[in-house]
Symmetry: C2
Subunit: 460 residues, 2 copies
C-alpha cells in the first residue's frame, strides 16, 4: 500500500486498516501521545500518524529521529477540522531503519547550494521530490507523444569517432594507460592500441545517426545523453545532459515547427495534469509565475518571425541591449527573451537564419544566404528548441561541408543518405534539462538533473 494509493482512493480506505512503509519527515511527542509525519516517496503529500501511549513501544517511537524508516499500521480516519483530509491512528509503528542524529535533512529549509553537496539525500526534500518526479513524467510524456504518433525510438551511439557539429569541445574515450601512452614512429599517440583502434569521443548529438533512421522509418527520435566538455561554469551548462532529437522524412520546416509546438504543449499539459501537487508547490516556493506562464504557453498559438524581421525589430531597441544586434550576428539570450517576452508575449519561432551562424547540415534557402533553420523561444528562458530542414541535395551538402572544412571521408554515410533516395526532411533538438527547468521554474541546471556533471564536479 502506498500514500499515493490512499490519496487517490481515500474513500475506499477511510475507517479501514492501512499499512504503510515510509520515512519520518517530522515528529513531535508529548507524554501521552505524539504525531509523526510520514512520507513514502510515492506522493508529494505526506500523511500524519497519531501514536498513543497504549502502543507497547511508545517510548521508542518518541525517540525516533527525522529520516528514520518505519512501518506504520493503523486506521485511516477522516479529520474534517484539520488542514489535511485524514490521518492514521496507529495500531503499530515499527522501526525499519533508524536515522542517525546527524541526519543532514532536519526540518528546516536548506539552500539549493547546500543540497547540491548531498545529491544522494536531496531527492528526499520537497523541492527535489517535485523536480525529479516532474522530470520523470516529462521524459515519459515525450516518449508517449512520439510513440502515439508512430515515431521509432532509436538509441544513437554515445561513443563516436565523429563530431556532429564539426565543432564543440569533446570528451575523449580511451582505454590507453594514461601513465604510459603508447606512441607510434612519429611519436604521436598510437591509437591502434586503443580499444576501438582509433580516437573516439563522447557524442555531442545523435542527429546524424537519427537521420539514417528517418530515411528508413520516416519518423524517428532519439532521447539519450549527450556531452560537452565546455569549460563554462554557468547555471545553464552541464557537461552531461539529455537530448531529444526527432528526425522526420518528408517533412519541411513548417512540419518541423508544428511537431515542436505540439510536443511542448503535450509535455506541459501532461505534467500539469499528472503532478498538480508538485506544480502547486513549485509555483508557491520556487517560481511564483510558473503556472501562469505554462498555462499561457498551453493556450497560445506560437508566433512566427524570420531572423531578418526579428533583427529589424531588435535593432530599434539596441540601446537596451548589452550586445547590439545587426544582420548576421547571432541572437543572444537577452534578444531572444525580448522577442518572446516583450514583442510577441508568447512563444515564437525565429526562422531562416544566416547560414554562417548555423550548422553545415541545414538546408540552404533560395536566397543563397539563409538556411531553413528555426529556434523556438519561450518566455522566461529564451531558446528551448533548435531545429532545421536538413540539406537534402548531395552537391549542395558537399559544397557546404567543404566550406566549413569538414573531412568528407568521415561523412560518407551522411552523404549516402542524399545519394540513395534522398527526401526533404527535418528535425530538431530539445535539451531535456532546459525543458525540466522550464517546467519546474528551477533556475540552475545543477538542480534539474539528478547527478550533475560540471567543470571540476563529478560526485557520486
Amino acid at each position: 500500500m502506498t500514500i499515493r494509493e490512499i490519496y487517490k482512493n481515500s474513500e475506499q480506505f477511510l475507517n479501514k486498516e492501512v499499512k504503510l512503509g515510509g520515512w519520518i519527515r517530522s515528529i513531535r511527542g508529548s507524554k501521552h501521545f505524539g504525531f509523526l509525519v510520514l512520507h513514502d516517496g510515492t506522493f508529494f503529500k505526506p500523511i500524519q500518524v497519531v501514536y498513543e501511549e497504549k502502543l507497547a513501544n511508545f517510548q521508542e517511537i518518541s525517540k525516533m529521529n527525522v529520516g528514520a524508516a518505519v512501518i506504520v499500521e493503523g486506521i485511516l480516519v477522516p479529520t474534517p477540522q484539520a488542514k489535511q483530509p485524514f490521518e492514521i491512528q496507529a495500531t503499530s509503528v515499527t522501526l525499519e531503519g533508524a536515522s542517525a542524529p546527524d541526519y543532514p535533512l532536519q526540518k528546516k529549509r536548506h539552500s539549493l547550494e547546500y543540497l547540491r553537496t548531498i545529491s544522494h539525500l536531496r531527492p528526499r526534500t520537497n523541492t527535489f521530490q517535485a523536480v525529479f518526479r516532474i522530470r520523470s513524467m516529462a521524459a515519459y510524456a515525450i516518449h508517449q507523444f512520439f510513440q502515439e504518433r508512430g515515431f521509432v525510438y532509436v538509441h544513437t551511439p554515445l561513443i563516436t569517432a565523429s563530431d556532429c557539429e564539426g565543432a564543440g569541445e569533446m570528451f575523449q574515450v580511451t582505454t590507453l594507460d594514461l601513465n604510459n601512452i603508447p606512441k607510434d614512429k612519429e611519436e604521436k599517440v598510437d591509437f591502434t592500441q586503443d580499444f576501438f583502434g582509433k580516437p573516439t569521443n563522447l557524442t555531442v548529438s545523435g542527429q546524424l545517426n537519427a537521420e539514417t533512421f528517418a530515411q528508413a522509418f520516416r519518423n524517428t527520435y532519439t532521447f539519450g545523453p549527450t556531452f560537452r566538455a565546455e569549460n563554462s561554469n554557468t547555471a545553464r551548462h552541464a557537461a552531461e545532459f539529455w537530448m531529444i532529437e526527432p528526425e522526420m522524412a518528408f517533412a519541411d520546416l513548417k512540419d518541423d515547427m508544428e511537431v515542436a509546438e505540439a510536443m511542448l504543449k503535450y509535455v506541459i499539459s501532461y505534467v500539469m495534469e499528472n503532478a498538480p501537487e508538485e506544480m502547486d508547490f513549485l509555483n508557491q516556493f520556487v517560481d511564483k509565475g510558473l503556472k501562469d506562464r505554462l498555462n499561457h504557453v498551453l493556450n497560445a498559438e506560437f508566433g512566427h518571425v524570420t531572423y531578418t524581421e526579428a533583427v529589424e525589430i531588435l535593432e530599434k531597441h539596441n540601446d537596451e541591449f548589452e550586445y547590439k544586434v545587426s544582420w548576421g550576428t547571432d541572437l543572444q539570450t537577452e534578444h531572444e527573451r525580448y522577442l518572446t517576452e516583450e514583442v510577441f508575449k508568447r512563444p515564437v519561432f525565429v526562422t531562416d537564419y544566416p547560414k554562417e551562424i548555423k550548422a553545415f547540415y541545414m538546408k540552404l534557402n533560395q536566397d543563397g544566404k539563409t538556411v531553413a533553420a528555426m529556434d523556438c523561444l519561450v518566455p522566461g528562458i529564451g531558446e528551448i528548441i533548435g531545429g532545421s530542414q536538413r540539406e537534402d541535395d548531395y552537391d549542395l551538402l558537399r559544397k557546404r561541408m567543404e566550406e566549413v572544412g569538414l573531412d568528407e571521408e568521415n561523412y560518407q554515410f551522411y552523404l549516402d543518405l542524399r545519394k540513395y533516395g534522398s527526401t526533404h526532411h527535418s528535425g530538431f533538438g530539445l535539451g531535456f534539462e532546459r525543458c525540466v527547468m522550464y517546467l519546474t521554474g528551477i533556475s540552475n541546471i545543477r538542480d534539474a538533473i539528478p547527478f550533475p556533471r560540471t567543470v571540476n564536479n563529478c560526485e557520486l
Copy 2:
C-alpha cells in the same frame, strides 16, 4: 498520410485518393504499365503501386531505381484476387530523390554480416525494420510498465568517478591532451588538470545511484547506456549497451522477482500485440520457434529454485557439460539453459547464490554464506535478468566492502543510505539488447543495437 494509416483503416481509404511519400522497394515495368512496391517506413508491409503509360512521366518512372524516394498519388483499390488486399492505381508518381545505380540494397537477400558494414542503410531492410521497430516498442513498453506503477525514472550519470561493481574494465573519460599528458611531481598523470579534476570513466551500472532515489521515491528505475571495455569479441558482448535497473524500497527478493516476471511478460505481450507483422516475419525468416517460445513464457508461471538445489540437479548431469558444476562454482550458460530448457521447461529464477560469486552489495542470508540474489533464466538464452535484495545493514555492508577490498571513502554516499532510514530494498538489471535479442530471435548483439560498438569497431 502513411502506409500504416492505410493498413489500419483501409475501409476508410478504399476507392479514394491517397498520397504517399516513400521509397521504391522493387520495380518492374512493361511497355504499357508497370508495378512498383512502395515502402514508407511506418508499417512493415509495403503497398503495390500500378502506373500506366497515360502518366506523362511514364518513361521516367520506368527508369527509377530501387531505393529511390517518390511521392505517389492515386486511388486505393481493392484487389480481392491478389495476395495483398489493395493496391494504388497511380495518377502521379513524382521523383523526390533518385537512387544511384550502385545502391547496395538491391532486391536480394543480404547476409547480416554484410549489412553490418552498412549500418546507415540496413534499417531499410525487412529484418532491421522488424528488429528496430520492436526495439523501440520494447523500450516504450518498459517505460509504460514502470510509469503505470508509479516508478520514478531517474537518469543516473554516465560519467562517473566510481566503479559500481568494484571490478570490470572501464573506459576512461578525459580532456587531457593524450599527446602531451601533464604529469605531477611524481611523474604520474596530473588529473587536477583534467576536466573534472580527477580520473573519471564511463559507468558500468546506474544501480548505486538509483538506490539513492529508491530511498526517496520508494520505486524508481533507470534506463540508460552503460559501458564495458571488455576485450571479448563474441555475439553477446558490446562495449556500449542499454540497461534497465529498477530499485524498490520496502521490497524483498520475492517482490523483486514478481516485478521482474511481470515486466518481462508485459514487454512480450506489448510487442506481440503491437508488432504482429514484424513478429510473423521474424518467426518465419529469423527464428522459427520464436512466437511459440514467447507465448510459452507469457503463459507460464516462472519456476523457482535455489542455487543449492540447482547445483544438486545439475551435478547429476555433469557428464553432459563442458564445465562441471559443484557448489561454489558460477553457473555457465550451458547450465542455465539446461535448467530452464530441460529441467523446468519454462523461465526459472535461481536464488541464493554463494556470496563469493556475487557482488558486494547483495544481502547476506541467515546462513552467512549465501546472498539474497536471483538470476532469471529463460529458454533459448539463459540469464536475462540478475538482481538481489540489497544489503541494508550498515555494519554488514562495511564488512563486506572491506572483504572485497573496496575503498570505503568512495562509497560514503552508499553507506549513508544505511545510516539514515535504511529499508529492506531490492532491484535488478535487465540488459536491453539481450531483451531485444530474446524478443526478435536475433542471435548477434551487433544486430540488436542500431550502431554497435565492439573491440576495434566504432563506425558512424
